[in-house]
């Protein structure tokens, strides 16, 4: 047994156990915070009574069920899955593009989704349609970016980034046109609010439908962890190690785009988390993607649950979550970068 191996295994196991414990603690804290304050004891008592470990108190159980299961739990689940998805997508993008500053918006996914959502809002469509349009817009923008990259000839990291920039700029301009054309008393505020992000409108059935899809996308990326490491070392490096570069690159982009477009379609624009969570996770478990992607998922989930809890409890009216993630994300990112510069040990 190699000693270095045992140390490495023990360290990683400990870090992941710590992250899971932090996630559970954040969930319980988030469940207890709200307009109707609950203690951790209330929550544990409810769980015990549901598990038939304690004597049931019907009236109190119904009240708690309504608050915890119907109101708070869907939001917490949504925050966990969306935070995880955006972070995993960001980490995967950073490896694919060999760029620590890559984030899920790099290829235009967020710009396209914003345009799609704004279009649906102006057309006065239902909330489901807004989400559908946002998802289609996100996927469409990345497809356009990849297509434009193809015009430059041989597809490479640089041509893809250029294609994404062009596609993103196009959809941002198109979004401006929609905002300009929108009814300033009714539609424009709706667009602006959507752009600031919110988890308030997500119901339990909706998150139960989309969560498996997002988890599948994240799992697919995590399984590609090792070849993604080779790709992060460089295109020729990956080829030299027997990795089919084009297939891996487009596969990873497709999976990362899919989960980030789904996230944005559910919750609107939530910035920074896809950039900062992977860096935070990298400081803990190192840059190897087989560990980095699951760790990013946990960090992102914890961060977004905490941010959403602040968003709904800081003031009497809810603060858009995109504002919170930006305000918290910027100082966190500065701290992380200061340490990341010195290497991760």
């Amino acid at each position: 047994m190699s000693r270095a191996y045992s140390t490495d295994r023990a360290r990683t196991l400990l870090l992941f156990l710590g992250l899971v414990a932090a996630l559970l603690a954040t969930c319980i804290a988030a469940l207890s915070v709200g307009r109707y304050g609950l203690s951790v004891g209330d929550i544990l008592g409810f769980l015990a009574s549901r598990a038939k470990l304690a004597a049931p108190d019907q009236a109190r159980d119904d009240l708690l069920r309504n608050i915890l299961v119907d109101i708070r739990l869907p939001r917490i689940l949504a925050a966990a899955v969306i935070g995880a998805a955006l972070s995993v997508a960001g980490a995967a993008y950073q490896s694919v593009f060999r760029n620590p500053l890559a984030s899920p918006g790099l290829l235009g996914a967020l710009g396209g989704a914003s345009f799609g959502a704004a279009l649906a809002l102006i057309l006065g469509l239902s909330w489901i349609a807004v989400q559908g349009f946002a998802f289609a817009g996100g996927i469409g923008a990345v497809a356009l970016g990849v297509g434009v990259a193809g015009l430059f000839g041989e597809a490479s990291t640089i041509t893809l980034i250029l294609g994404g920039m062009i596609s993103g700029a196009f959809f941002t301009a198109a979004l401006s046109i929609l905002k300009y054309a929108a009814d300033p008393y009714d539609q424009l505020p709706a667009i602006v609010y959507w752009l600031m992000g919110s988890l308030a409108a997500i119901g339990l059935t909706q998150i139960l439908w989309t969560a498996p899809l997002m988890l599948a996308g994240m799992a697919a990326l995590a399984l590609l962890g090792r070849p993604l490491d080779a790709l992060a070392m460089g295109e020729d490096e990956a080829r030299g190690l027997g990795v089919p570069v084009a297939a891996l690159r487009y596969g990873a982009i497709a999976a990362a785009t899919f989960i980030s477009a789904l996230s944005v379609s559910l919750a609107g624009m939530i910035g920074w988390i896809g950039l900062f969570a992977p860096h935070f996770a990298r400081l803990m478990v190192g840059p190897g993607n087989a560990r980095l992607l699951p760790a990013s998922a946990l960090v992102g989930a914890i961060f977004l649950i905490a941010a959403d809890t602040l968003a709904r409890s800081l003031t009497r009216t809810e603060i858009p979550i995109g504002i919170i993630t930006e305000l918290l994300g910027i100082p966190a990112f500065i701290l992380v970068l200061r340490r990341a510069r010195k290497g991760w040990m």
């Binding site: 191996y5 030299g240 190192g286």
Partner: protein, 257 residues
């Protein structure tokens, strides 16, 4: 012809305009060091990338063990031929051992977890190259010479018998250059074949079994160092006047005039 990598009459043009390579023929196999010399922009890197299967030639063939390269899967090539890039930089701080462990990718597959045995073999390779103390260091923080050694350790972890190196001496200090050539000679004695491009005629002279000169898209001369490399060849290749100094043991050094 066992385990030989052979390029025959390769033609390659970038952007359909100037032909970078125009009928280049070159081969190497286990137990030999072949140095590729040529001026900047003469197509050395292109030739190496074609021979690795990273690029497709417009005409001509590359064959590994007598079978055309395009009939091989990328992964099978990687089990036979390893590649060491020029001045490689990584964007993320992988540990040195993790870089070496990437070498198991072509053999172990993508999903097989890293075992204690893998760790031990990676550390044994690092030890063999005298850099075991770097195992836990960040690959982004070690020196250029050390980085070349890490990449060689990774190549050995691939289990490849052939090594293609693009200007491995670039950016190394004088001592590191000499030590690297010595290491390559030692690996050669253990059966490894090395094809490397270089800008140092002297190194090529004393360390290679064969030297190939790339001029105008072709291998103009290919043979034993003392048959290939003289003042006239250097002059033709780099357009500078030099005089050759013969050492008593038959090696040769070149001094600019």
């Amino acid at each position: 012809m066992r385990a030989r990598l052979a390029a025959t009459a390769l033609v390659f043009a970038r952007n359909q305009k100037r032909r970078v390579l125009d009928g280049a023929t070159l081969a190497f196999g286990p137990g030999e060091i072949v140095s590729l010399l040529g001026a900047n922009g003469s197509g050395k890197t292109t030739l190496l990338r074609l021979m690795l299967g990273f690029l497709r030639p417009e005409a001509g063939t590359v064959a590994l063990e007598g079978r055309e390269l395009r009939a091989w899967s990328r992964r099978d090539i990687a089990r036979k031929v390893a590649y060491v890039a020029q001045n490689h930089v990584a964007p993320f701080p992988y540990r040195v051992r993790d870089v070496v462990l990437l070498g198991r990718l072509p053999r172990a597959g993508w999903l097989t977890p890293v075992t204690s045995h893998d760790f031990a073999s990676a550390d044994a390779l690092l030890d063999q190259l005298g850099i075991l103390t770097l195992a836990e260091r960040s690959y982004t923080e070690v020196s250029g010479g050390e980085r070349q050694l890490v990449l060689i350790a990774r190549a050995l972890a691939q289990g490849a018998s052939l090594l293609v190196m693009d200007e491995p001496m670039a950016g190394l200090d004088y001592g590191a250059q000499i030590r690297l050539m010595r290491l390559l000679q030692e690996l050669k004695r253990k059966g490894l074949g090395v094809l490397l491009s270089t800008h140092h005629p002297e190194h090529a002279f004393w360390a290679s079994d064969a030297i190939a000169l790339l001029e105008q898209g072709r291998i103009a001369v290919n043979g034993a160092p003392r048959d290939v490399l003289d003042a006239e060849a250097i002059e033709r290749l780099y357009r500078v006047k030099v005089s050759a100094l013969a050492a008593p043991d038959g090696r040769c050094a070149f001094l600019p005039e």
